[in-house]
Symmetry: C2
Subunit: 175 residues, 2 copies
Amino acid sequence: MATTNKPVSAEIEALSAVLGTDASKLLDPTVARAWIALLTAYGRVTRALSSELMDASGMSLADFDVMAQLVRSEEYRLRMSELADAALISKSGLTRRIDQLAVNGWVTRRRCTEDGRVHWATLTPLGLRAFKGAAPAHLAAVAERFGSALPASEMERLTRDLLKIAAKNAEPINS
Amino acid sequence: MATTNKPVSAEIEALSAVLGTDASKLLDPTVARAWIALLTAYGRVTRALSSELMDASGMSLADFDVMAQLVRSEEYRLRMSELADAALISKSGLTRRIDQLAVNGWVTRRRCTEDGRVHWATLTPLGLRAFKGAAPAHLAAVAERFGSALPASEMERLTRDLLKIAAKNAEPINS
DNA sequence: CCCAGGTAGTTGCAGACGCAACTATACCCC
DNA sequence: GGGGTATAGTTGCGTCTGCAACTACCTGGG
């Protein structure tokens, strides 16, 4: 993902003049502010983390996430579908991400002998080393840019709130 | 953008086994969970809002945001740079977005007579109508998918927390 | 044994994005 | 005034993403 960033909304408030006097009935200003704050925080943090990770280790945030999933999996491997769901990306997106990681020699893709439809993506020793090299700085960056903004108790509350929002919008990425 | 979505990280925890025993020193699990929660909530909500808006009004979230900025501006117009900053996208991104909106007849682009470098992006009456048509449903969707998850007081706390995070990572998108 | 139906992945395609380089102005100062 | 520098936008380029269509393969029923 190099340095991609969701464009995304910004500012929904103050539309009353145009929509009539009831804009605040459509969207509570409190909610509007929170929404904008979410977009801003997300955008800034991911943009920064993304370019830092790329500069330091030559991998995109998406690459890191995919590899992180493999690292924590049995035998460092996962089926393509499982991996796509775990990394929150589409199946086609994962196919290409794995293509790339394979070129780097960080992951291999092998057809499953028992079920020919299935393919295993496996982290190579080289990939593991690359991940180990990248993780410390990246995790520290997350801690710094995101984690250090709030005390632990507040962070937990934030998590609960965000999970409630996520829960309201369930539905895995690969419908 | 139809249904674009940030891929983005997911799961940074449980790496201790691989990194040594100190993964939690690099990134507090509490922070890791919060980070993942943010990514998940953001991804799900924007994905849903994006496709709903596109289906209902034929405009992307980015289009909506840009038009929203113009709607709330003096004379429905803004200089390209101001608009890019306000809508949280890059200058080049805005150039193309405006190209598109201009094709739709929703926005015009005119060179400023006093300063030839400046270009004004102006919402057309047609654009205003399109925006008015799209806003109610979109705002309602934000209220439903995002706003309804938490009570007002909690929403305000969330806003404060997110703004603290955003503040820690200042730096406008167009450095 | 073969076909229908379902699952796993891949590919064609089109839409976005951002950075860096480039163009067009404006401004400043000698 | 002419040159150097700064600002506003645009364009070239490479990359990423997802959806829909397609291929490959397994499985169950007749």
